[in-house]
Symmetry: C2
């Protein structure tokens, strides 16, 4: 891993039946499919302890997003008026980080099946975190 | 904004009474204080539409974290055994992104008061997103 400040290193990649943005729902719970996350070999050991049924937050780098956007029509709906990007979940934003709450479905060496996930095939993954439950579960 | 792949641009900085990691709780709901987020002037327009009471997810760059870490003792508790970093919320991880669920408390031009926030003073902020509620609220 490099240590350049603010330089994200991909930890893996999404393998999904979704080929492009046009086919992806806005959010995972709007009909998105399950998908595999293939981990980079250098960081695959970081999956240790993740089991099927765990609730996770996957953070992706939305590599097709436009970064020079500060105002958007939420969900592309022109009737709703413009909103600042930080008040929306638009993928087009200064730092195009995608935040996806998913359930772990299968865990194999070096890869993890999760769902539902609206990120398209080939989307780089930059972090995986557990959803926090009660203090006991921490 | 630069368009270098995987290069995060800070959109703001945390102004908090927490001076260092030793004084910060592990999570916001464990006694963290309120804090201001000062937006970079170039992206301040992205706050439009955020109002007091809104639930937000702030994503930070944990600039003091170690990135060369794949296994940790969760919450620093040596009795619990090692876990893969992606099964924990350790700040030390390949891409040290901090995920913080907060409430918007005050909105002023170019800055936003939120709480509770366990990130220390000077922590760079890289994204702000709304918590998603029901489909109607999207």
């Amino acid at each position: 891993m490099e240590a350049v400040p603010f330089q994200l290193e991909p930890i893996g990649v999404v393998r999904s039946p979704l080929p492009d943005r046009a086919s992806a729902p806005c959010q995972g719970d709007e009909g998105a499919p399950d998908a595999w996350i293939e981990l980079a070999p250098a960081v695959a050991a970081g999956l240790e302890g993740i089991e099927p049924g765990h609730e996770l937050i996957v953070i992706t780098w939305l590599h097709e997003a436009e970064r020079d956007v500060l105002s958007v029509y939420p969900r592309g709906d022109l009737t709703r008026g413009l909103a600042g990007v930080f008040a929306t979940r638009s993928p087009d934003r200064p730092n195009p980080l995608g935040l996806h709450r998913v359930t772990a479905l299968e865990v194999e060496p070096g890869r993890l099946k999760v769902g539902p996930l609206e990120a398209i095939d080939g989307t780089p993954v930059v972090d995986i975190k557990p959803v926090l439950g009660s203090a006991d579960e921490r």
